[in-house]
Amino acid sequence: MNLKGTLPLLILKVLQGGPLHGYAIAQRIRLLSDGLLDFKEGSLYPTLHGQENRGLIESVEEQERGRARRSYRLTPKGRKALTTEAQQWQSLAAAVDTILEGGPA
């Protein structure tokens, strides 16, 4: 299932549990959605960089087992954005559910 614009919100959600590097973020999203949500991993990093530009997350690069590894974590602004965007998403999902369950008028 294509994520269609929900990737930024999902990234914020998985980072709520603590700092993660890119590969772990991708795996966590797949794991939490039972593999239902799929996306091209090359699109993950531009999304992460965009969120960093907006100040929602911050990153630090460290050496781990001889290779550079950048991990990301939520900023206070990102926590607020997560709360707001999650509420918006839930409202939207509820509205769509209402229509789908009601069937054609």
């Binding site: 890119g22 590969y23 699109s43 531009p46 965009g50 690069e61």
Partner: protein
């Protein structure tokens, strides 16, 4: 912390070359390191599953997706070569030819205002224009480098860009007024267009530069 590209599989090198095309050197290196780490993590996971190494490489590369699509996304969120050069112009290094040009323009404005004004003295517009040129030159050569050195890179670039517009507009207004040339009706539209071009050039770089550390923004 440079990526050892020699150790990378050739398919990944090709993917990275396409995906990072047009990005600044710093952005290319950062993306390269991140994707390499991602790729190696994927290979390790596949190896733990007992997958054949060549199949594991194929799968890890497929998971990254289309490099052309990634390149479009990376250019939206990372500094391009052009934007990087724009930022390098604000890194605080002395730019003596530009400083000399700006001081010359201010001196020209002062001279024109003093020498060519009528018996009633220089007009208010001419005086404001000369002061604006001096303020703009000070922002470009003192304030913006000071902000840049203190890590306020986005603000440094934005203030410098706006100061350049102010300098340009002051020159275009002040010099004609000093020479008693009547105002041109299209001039306001011209200045607005120049401001728009500056904003279009500068704002994306400002947005992308906000989070950059000193090692990423300077030359």
């Amino acid at each position: 912390m440079k990526t050892d590209r020699g150790a990378l599989p050739i398919e990944l090198r090709h993917w990275l070359e396409q995906a990072t095309h047009g990005l600044s050197d710093e952005a290319r290196q950062r993306v390269g390191r991140e994707i390499e780490d991602h790729f190696r993590s994927a290979l390790e996971a596949a190896s733990a599953e007992g997958l054949d190494p060549s199949l594991a490489r194929r799968r890890a590369l497929d998971a990254l997706g289309d490099p052309a699509a990634a390149a479009r996304d990376f250019r939206r969120t990372n500094l391009t070569r052009f934007q990087s050069r724009l930022l390098e112009g604000h890194c605080g290094r002395p730019r003596w030819p530009v400083l000399a040009l700006h001081l010359g323009l201010v001196a020209l404005g002062v001279w024109l205002t003093a020498a060519l004004s009528g018996p009633e003295g220089p007009s208010l517009v001419a005086k404001v224009s000369v002061v604006s040129m001096a303020v703009a030159a000070a922002v470009i050569h003192l304030v913006a480098p000071w902000l840049f050195d203190r890590g306020r890179k986005g603000l440094a670039v934005l203030s410098s860009g706006l100061a350049q517009w102010l300098l340009f507009a002051s020159l275009c207004v002040g010099v004609p007024r000093g020479l008693d040339v009547p105002p041109q009706p299209l001039a306001a539209w011209f200045y607005a267009a120049v401001l728009l071009v500056l904003l279009v050039l500068y704002l994306p770089a400002v947005s992308k530069a906000r989070h950059l550390g000193p090692e990423q923004a300077g030359p």
